[in-house]
């Protein structure tokens, strides 16, 4: 599903200061895996996730999604690939404040190939129901709690039935109880849909939610769990 080959990403702050964010990372993620990448702040895990999604260009190395090198594609196809195959859950409040919950969930449908508006609306409502927010369809983000907002984001990530779900610190701003609720939600989605999940977190204890855990430090993979049977998590 994902093949990362000798991936490097450096940020040039000034002529003298070049910061390596990801250093020579190579790894494979099989279809249906639930991989959790842990590491401290600044360890390069978010950058790695962005590189996988094609949200930032690597300095060197390759990212192949189902054999396609993301950065070899022109913007139109790269955007379509993100739209159809990847679902995103971000660390920050990523809902558009001027749109209601259901409109936010429908957003990926708007950017992709033309879809029937009625179908999009029904699917968005269904997804919001799946994350227990059927009573908040018309609520604006400011009217929702942090946990509820993140659940809307999860519903949005699933709108176009992606093959890959990328989550960047999805529980960082939440209390412990909500954190586990959200993680349970990810596990449930993984079990029900078989979607491949790549989740980044600074919390090592959340590593147990995935089928595999990888640890990063200083832009490198410092510990990688063995590649287990992807279906292990489903029976957890």
């Amino acid at each position: 599903m994902i093949s990362i080959q000798n991936l490097n990403k450096t940020y040039t702050v000034s002529k003298e200061l070049v910061v390596p964010a990801v250093r020579d990372v190579s790894m494979e993620v099989e279809k249906g895996e639930f991989v959790i990448i842990t590491g401290r702040s600044g360890s390069g895990k978010t950058t790695l996730l962005n590189l996988v999604a094609g949200l930032t260009r690597p300095t060197s190395g390759k990212v192949l999604l189902d054999g396609t090198e993301v950065w070899s594609l022109p913007d139109k196809e790269q955007s379509l690939l993100r739209n159809e195959q990847i679902g995103f859950v971000f660390q920050f409040a990523s809902l558009l404040p001027t749109l209601t919950s259901i409109e936010n969930v429908m957003l990926p449908a708007m950017f992709g190939k033309k879809q029937d508006e009625k179908y999009s609306k029904e699917r968005a409502a269904f997804l919001l129901d799946q994350v227990d927010l059927s009573d908040k369809l018309q609520a604006f983000p400011r009217q929702l709690s942090g946990g509820q907002q993140q659940r809307v984001v999860i519903a949005r990530a699933l709108m176009n039935q992606p093959q890959l779900l990328l989550a960047d610190e999805p529980t960082s701003d939440l209390d412990e109880m909500t954190e586990h609720e959200i993680m349970d939600q990810f596990r449930g989605i993984h079990q029900e849909t078989g979607v491949t999940v790549l989740l980044v977190t600074h919390s090592a204890e959340l590593g147990s939610y995935g089928t595999r855990s990888i640890q990063m430090a200083n832009g490198e993979i410092v510990a990688a769990g063995a590649q287990p049977d992807p279906r292990r998590a489903m029976t957890n």
Binding site: T56, L80, L96, T98, P108
Partner: protein, 397 residues
């Protein structure tokens, strides 16, 4: 949900920014339409006045130049006389194709025998006339008979009187000429025969006799032969005929035209400054707004929005604000110019013609397109910058 709806939500979601851009667009479009209406209105008015005269040269008694201009531009009546032999002298000059005399008269002020006080009256000689003839042939078959008149665009028959009284003589108003925005719009035209009949009857019907000195005319309109320079003919008139002043119509309103040109230069400079400032302000507002929404734009890209989609979405906001602001600006500016016409004419000391509705719509559309381009151009740079940024960079703190 579509891009249009998204743009609309973003506009209403940030009311202060939207109002600022709206105001700038209104200012840009309003200024353009107001400047165009004023400059074009004055220029059109002068051009139409010259067209109405239809002559290459007007010969008037010496020293009456300023008063004649006031009469033609502002409708302030002028009384001047010169011997009618001048007409024959002029006709005999080389290069002169046609000469037609006119009488300049006026109604009385505060007299019941005149429907309209101090109206500029022009009498023409039908046999030689070449200025009114084209209009008369087109609109009134056979021209004007005794007792008939045509008026400028603002001349009408008072309802309570049922006829237009001039020195107690009831004139039959046969039609109205196209508007020119000048004093000619408040003037009335009839034949020499009618003028003399009014003068004859005035001793019985009017509170004051209309006095037309015998064997005199007020002016003589000259049409030069094809290929002849009117300036040459005017010079010939000055050197051969005493007591008259030849005025070339092409340079008749030179002062007004020069004043207009100078006004145009000032307006263009002011317009340029206003537009540069407004566009800079719009660019800053859009930069701030885009910076504020940077993360959400990054999210849109991550969700599959193409660069062009982001660009379209941001430019659509600019376009909607430009359309709304521009339309309001054009409407307000046009209304203001229309309502303050007399003030504008007074300040500029030129006549002024407000365009016909269809013309106004065309000018408004032009101003709207300009405002649209201006606002879109101002928003383009920040919009391009964000849409071509890596989504990850956009989402970074």
């Amino acid at each position: 949900m579509n891009l249009f709806e998204l743009a609309k939500r973003n506009i209403t979601g940030s009311s202060f920014r939207s109002w600022m851009v709206f105001f700038c667009a209104a200012l840009m479009a309003g200024f353009v339409i107001a400047a165009t209406l004023v400059i074009r209105g004055a220029n059109d008015s002068l051009r139409l006045a010259l067209d109405r005269l239809g002559a290459d040269i007007i010969v008037i008694p010496e020293g009456e130049e300023q008063r004649l201009k006031s009469a033609l531009l502002m409708g302030i009546p002028v009384h001047c006389w010169m011997p009618d032999t001048v007409v024959d002298d002029l006709a005999a000059l080389p290069g002169v194709q046609a000469v037609s005399p006119q009488l300049y008269l006026s109604t009385l002020r505060g007299a019941t025998c005149c429907s309209v006080p101090e109206m500029f009256l022009i009498a023409y000689e039908p046999e030689t006339d070449f200025t009114l003839r084209p209009w008369l042939e087109e609109n009134l078959e056979g021209g004007l008979a005794l007792g008939e008149a045509v008026g400028g665009n603002l001349v009408y028959v008072p309802v309570e009187q049922g006829e237009l009284l001039v020195y107690g003589y009831g004139l039959d108003l046969k039609g109205s000429l196209e508007p020119t925005g000048t004093g000619l719009d408040q003037s009335m035209f009839f034949t020499f025969e009618t003028a003399r009949e009014i003068a004859r009857m005035s001793s019985d019907q009017a509170v004051k006799v209309l006095d037309i000195p015998p064997r005199t005319v007020s002016s003589a309109l000259i049409k030069v032969e094809l290929g002849v320079d009117p300036q040459q003919v005017a010079a010939e008139i000055s050197s051969t005929i005493r007591g008259v002043t030849p005025l070339e119509t092409a340079t008749l309103f030179r002062d007004q035209r020069e004043q207009l040109l100078s006004l145009l230069n000032s307006v263009v400079a002011l317009l340029g400054i206003t537009w540069v400032l407004a566009m800079a302000l719009i660019a800053v507002i859009f930069s701030l707004a885009i910076n504020e929404r940077r993360r959400h734009i990054g999210v849109m890209r991550a969700l599959g929005a193409r660069r062009t989609t982001v660009l379209q979405s941001l430019l659509l906001e600019a376009i909607l604000l430009a359309l709304a602001g521009g339309t309001v600006g054009i409407a307000v500016a046009s209304l203001a110019v229309y309502l303050f016409r007399p003030l504008i004419m007074g300040l500029m000391n030129t006549p002024f013609l407000f365009p016909a509705p269809l013309q106004l719509a065309g000018l408004g559309l032009g101003a709207l397109v300009l405002a649209l381009l201006g606002v879109t151009l101002a928003a383009l740079i920040p919009a391009l910058r964000i849409s071509y940024q890596d989504p990850a960079n956009s989402m970074r703190e």
